[in-house]
Amino acid sequence: MSRSNHRDAWFDERVESYVDGLLPIEELEAFEARLGEDERLREDVSAARLVVSVLRSMPEEECPSVVTDRVLEFARSSESGRGEMTTFGRVDRPAVRRYTPLRLVRAATFVAAACLAIFMLVGKDAATSDAAYSDAEVQRALKEAKFALALVSDAGRDAGRAIRTDAVAPVSEAMNIVLGEPTIPAGRN
């Protein structure tokens, strides 16, 4: 290595220390003197400043509460003897809650069965009886219908969530992969 290259390397090695304000005073004077006459060294200092500036300004990321909720729930149930203590990687550690296709099928089946039951009840009553209904009977029927509709609504919501998680999200993710757009955390955008 020539004397000139050696000297360049000496300054190059001190760029990060200079940016951090950690150069000893005797080196600082030499470094700043060189900085005044060396454009490349100035570019290096600017680049080093940019790197730390960007990295240190990254926002703090907040862990979603659902993650800690799952962990704490698992620990509490384990402590109270309701769950089996497991080790990392085994099947019965708390899994990320996902709506499986089985869950989707169950929900869809329940919705269909509930709708069928309502139609059958209404249809049967209409076909077999021509008697006038009392107010109390009408009120009771209305309550039963509301209850059935609430159940259907819950099951429908469950099915909707399952469709979003199992069908829409994977397709969207696959599209990103196909289009070469990897998932980038919002904090970096």
Partner: protein, 184 residues
């Protein structure tokens, strides 16, 4: 460690672990999975871990889990092996030499460069420059001597600086660099 101590530890360290995993892996879903796994492991090992060493322990486990996850992902998807140099990509987009450096492009460029760092450079950069851990804490977490942490960090920052310099070249030469959020 009691259940109450475990709950305190989870609440105290969750953002640190999640943030580290997120910056390391670049995926929220994977960061969530790693965070969950780290704390399940902490619970599994609660009898053996001293309260004073919790942070370094969870960070060490998080780092190992991230490395494993990263390797699995690279096996599935070798996009990181692309021969396309990100620096030249950025340079190619800057047709106008007078163009100011765009903040988002710059941030993405630097994070992409961090993503390409090898271990332990990458972990050290994330822990020191993004998460603001002390050299001592990083040394304990990664089981490295203090001097090695300093040397690795110095080399990593130099690598990042050189990548940036090769991408932005003359724009760095003493000119102010305007960004959409701030001037850096």
């Amino acid at each position: 460690m009691t259940l109450e101590q475990f709950e305190s530890a989870v609440l105290e360290h969750r953002n640190r672990v999640y943030g580290f995993a997120l910056h390391f892996l670049g995926s929220r879903q994977e960061a969530e999975d790693v965070t969950q796994d780290v704390f399940i492991r902490l619970w599994d090992n609660r009898e053996r871990i001293d309260v004073d060493t919790q942070l370094s322990w969870v960070l060490r486990v998080a780092r190992n889990a991230c490395v494993d996850q990263y390797r699995k992902r690279r096996t599935r998807d070798n996009r990181h092996d692309s021969s396309v140099d990100a620096a030249s990509e950025v340079a190619a987009t800057m047709e106008d030499p007078d163009q100011q450096i765009d903040n988002e492009k710059l941030r993405q460029q630097i994070m992409d460069s961090v993503d390409r760092l090898k271990e332990p450079y990458k972990s050290i950069v994330v822990l020191r420059e993004i998460q603001d851990l002390s050299y001592e804490e990083i040394g304990v977490a990664l089981e490295l001597p203090l001097t090695s942490v300093k040397v690795y960090l110095h080399r990593a920052r130099k690598m990042l600086r050189e990548t940036l310099r090769s991408a932005y070249g003359d724009l760095l030469g003493g000119a102010s660099i305007s960004t959409s959020e701030q001037t850096v």
